[in-house]
Amino acid sequence: MTNKSATKTESQELLPEGWEMVIGLEIHVELATATKLFSPAQNSFGSEPNQNVHPVCLGLPGTLPVVNEKAIEFAARIGLALNCTVQKCVFARKNYFYPDMPKDYQISQFDEPLNIDGWVDLPVAGTRIRVERAHVEEDTGKTTHVGDSGRIHDAGYSLVDYNRAGVPLVEIVTHPDIRGPEEAKEYVDEVRAMVVAVGASDGKMEEGSLRVDANVSVRPAGSDELRTRCEIKNVNSLRSIGRAITYEAKRHVNLYESGKEPIQETRHWDEEAGRTRDGRKKEDSDDYRYFADPDLVAIDPTPEWIAQIAASQPALPAQRREALVSAGADSEGAALVVQRDLDSLVLAVIEAGGEAKRVLNHATNNLAIEGAEALSPSNFADLVKMEADGALTSTQAKQVLAEMVSDGSTPADIAAKHGFEAMDTGELEATLDEIISSSPQEWERFVNEPEARGKLQGFFVGQVMKATRGQADGKLVNQLLAKKANS
């Protein structure tokens, strides 16, 4: 997560004067069920080709779909996390021919999706992104294009593997509320954290468990019109989301500024070339002839069931951040701690008496995620207290913390082992006086030239640290320098 916010400036910084981006995202989340959405075949990543199949997900003649109850539960959990209304839903057939779709129709939801009308509040950008719907559908198989370049356009032939065919997906569709690439990345990151938190998905973009399509258009800054959009597919990492959106938005602006207009189409992101390309032309095939799947019946979640799901929802990222803020954390630090999944440790340390600001500082800057779960909150709190009392410098505290993770000792023992003792003020003042007297010119300038003070302050602190082998408290040195210069 980046700390840049101010979306309008972001959009305006990236585009020529007077334009802004209008972005809607569709996130496909693969659900972490044991079996597929309608077929009792295994749902797992990385198996040998066509191993995770069953007559149902191969679409063999005569087979029939039956809904996986776990998939509906996960989908409802995602819907509730997105603040959606969970409602009666109907599965519909989306008809089009494609070899990696075994029935040549996809079972999806059309006019009656499971989840509607939700929102996601972005913790850093501070904006609210409205979610139009989050519906349930089946994934397609995987086609590998075999040919000289491996690219779709000059393939000699294709090979189809149906392991992924029928894997349950939730497709989360936003309104066009996103105004820039950073906001888009933050939204994706937040949704990913949510679906992982509720246990519905592993959220791994690199394995395709979370895939993003972006609908991009531009408009004159401040206007509320919606212009022709292009759907960008194949954006497989957070980095490419930002790059693809920026590229596409600039392309639109260039078209408008040269008197042309973009056409509504599907485009593919080419990561290597850093550009989008027009997709395969599918004449007429956008007539999907949706109709309610006669092989399936409606799913009508009862209020009791929804309440039960809601009551058993694990804490969501937003709730976890809020708990940290209530305990004294700043919002940016809270976001980072939750992202690093260290929030329960941090809360326990604060509970044990650790000063919130220092605990957050350690958790965001000094603590490796790995092994952190073994830390004793009371030891951690003791460390923070020692630091606050001046018994350890911040540098020493960082080193002690690292050793606490690796060997589990108390901070007092580790500090004693290394002979760490924060110098008392008198001792430090004596050392500083020695340095001042051996650098009279620098001291002269430090006192009399305010514009040089900042640079020279660094010089004196550095000299003190050198003399004390880093054991001095930098903050205290600064205080002493100021006192001496003003006296």
Partner: protein, 107 residues
Amino acid sequence: MVDDAAHELDRDEVAKVAGLAMLELTDEELDTFTPQLGAILAHAQDMENLDLADVAPTHHPYPLVNVMRPDVVAEDAGGPELRDAVLAAAPDVEDNRFKVPPALGGD
């Protein structure tokens, strides 16, 4: 297209629908099918006599809801045996996968 059952089906529309359905019709077939389909669709006109405004559609003759199965892998799912049987029945395979002509090409 217009939302009107009275609209008369023409040859071009039949050809277009054939394309959607991945069928190729010869000129003779177009000549035969166009009036035949037109005659059948003309019967849909009968329904115009009915007041259907307040009638809900029936998707299923026997109303059921919430039919679901537990998330358990079936005994007859997966494994090399089923894979081999299925691949053996396929028109063309390579490397345990179904082989098809390229997505784009020749046009």
